[in-house]
Symmetry: C2
DNA sequence: CCATGACCATACACACTGTCCGGATAGCGC
DNA sequence: GCGCTATCCGGACAGTGTGTATGGTCATGG
């Protein structure tokens, strides 16, 4: 069966074949594809087409599509570490800093929804991705632990509880809620709701109170519950 | 190429070829296989071998291996609904009931670790499984919402927060932590730690206090933190 | 002017899924 | 005992993926 030997010869003409240019193309293409497809339904062939790269080249730069995802995750997550900083170094009001961090996290997640959803869905099935993701979660946990340890008020409140376990819980609760938000699962698909509930949870657990400040923020009546539906992202 | 026409003829001899007997064999075999393999690395062929069933028969009873998982999940999750009952109908001390429910949940998860890990890892990639799991989580959420609504103390404390969102957060935090425990991710791989931290989180958020009772329970010094390692189940 | 390195097309070995078909066999009515 | 039918089996096949291997093309630079 004769394949069409059509126009696939207009590339080398481009400016610089700078060493790892194809590598970049692969990365970008994958990142974009992930915005509309799930990682596991994405075939290498799809990436090849989108990046206009040959199979051989792909496997020259990456050992597998999982490796590509790993790279993208590292990129995305680096920014995340920074979002948490304000709360970590604890120069501001903790609750305010926390809320700001949570909101920043939400922004970050929606900006990189494709990549982050992909890693969350895939770290269970690939050794390298698993190590990568667990390491990232550990970093957040470490930061939270440090912050908690440096706050006598929180320490007292926590009593004899396992500080690291508490910190890890908070980290993973965040991971899950952000993921659900990105996946369009109600009620987390609404950013405002997400931020409120996450912040409340963190402050309740650590500081034993809900943030009074939130009441002053302009937030329309919630009109909550009665929502058992299952709406999905991917339909936009 | 002559295949060995060997001993595959010792089954029909068995007692009753009662209608859906093969179906049962498939279910059990899969359940057992899931205790040592991940769902996505499990091929239909593996199930066929384990259940001593032909490919044709398999596809007669189930449209796909996902459907098998769905069935197993329904079985496992039904028990879960009951575990939550004591807290739901709220005749006992809420915190005590909560703690008991959380512990029961932990037991349930470790008893059905294979199946439950499988659904958690797979609901993102299959329409039916997704609907099934989201429905289950919604059921738990509904129950929590009802319980919260019927408790003026909690209601007051929650203020204008979105009740359903809070309930959903608690549900999903549980899902994630139980999963991590089953997956052997520290510090949740220790049941005691898991139960404590989950109960504390729920009570902190809902009742604004940690349970004083827990201090009286015999619980050895935690010797917490300094654990960033990544140990995996599947190695037992 | 040709060697080299970057890249491509193609095709292959292997694995898995889901479908289809020609039997084999056991129980059952007769 | 005899054929019927429901049930189940082995095996083959098409379709789709992945990862590897082979040989060819083209621009550049020595």
């Amino acid at each position: 069966m004769p394949a069409k030997p059509s126009a696939r010869t207009a590339r080398r003409s481009g400016a610089a074949p700078a060493s790892a240019e194809l590598r970049e193309r692969i990365l970008s293409a994958t990142r974009e594809l992930l915005q509309e497809s799930r990682f596991d339904t994405l075939s290498v062939a799809d990436i090849l087409t989108a990046a206009e790269v040959s199979r051989a080249s792909f496997y020259f730069y990456f050992p597998s599509k999982q490796a590509v995802l790993g790279e993208l995750v590292r990129e995305a997550v680096t920014q995340g570490q920074e979002a948490a900083q304000p709360w970590i170094d604890g120069r501001q009001d903790p609750v305010a800093a926390l809320r700001a961090g949570v909101r920043e996290g939400a922004r970050l997640w929606s900006a990189n929804a494709g990549v982050l959803m992909a890693i969350v869905e895939s770290w269970g099935s690939d050794e390298d991705l698993r190590a990568l993701w667990l390491e990232q979660m550990d970093l957040f946990t470490d930061a939270a632990v440090a912050r908690i340890r440096s706050d006598p008020h929180v320490l007292r409140r926590l009593g004899d509880a396992d500080v690291r376990a508490v910190a890890a819980s908070l980290t993973w609760m965040g991971e899950r809620l952000y993921y659900l938000a990105a996946a369009g699962v109600p009620p987390f698909d609404d950013e405002e709701t997400l931020v409120e509930v996450l912040t409340d949870a963190w402050t309740s657990i650590l500081y034993g109170r809900r943030d009074p400040a939130q009441l002053s923020e302009a937030r329309p009546t919630v009109g909550d519950d009665t929502g058992s539906a299952t709406r999905d992202r991917r339909s936009s």
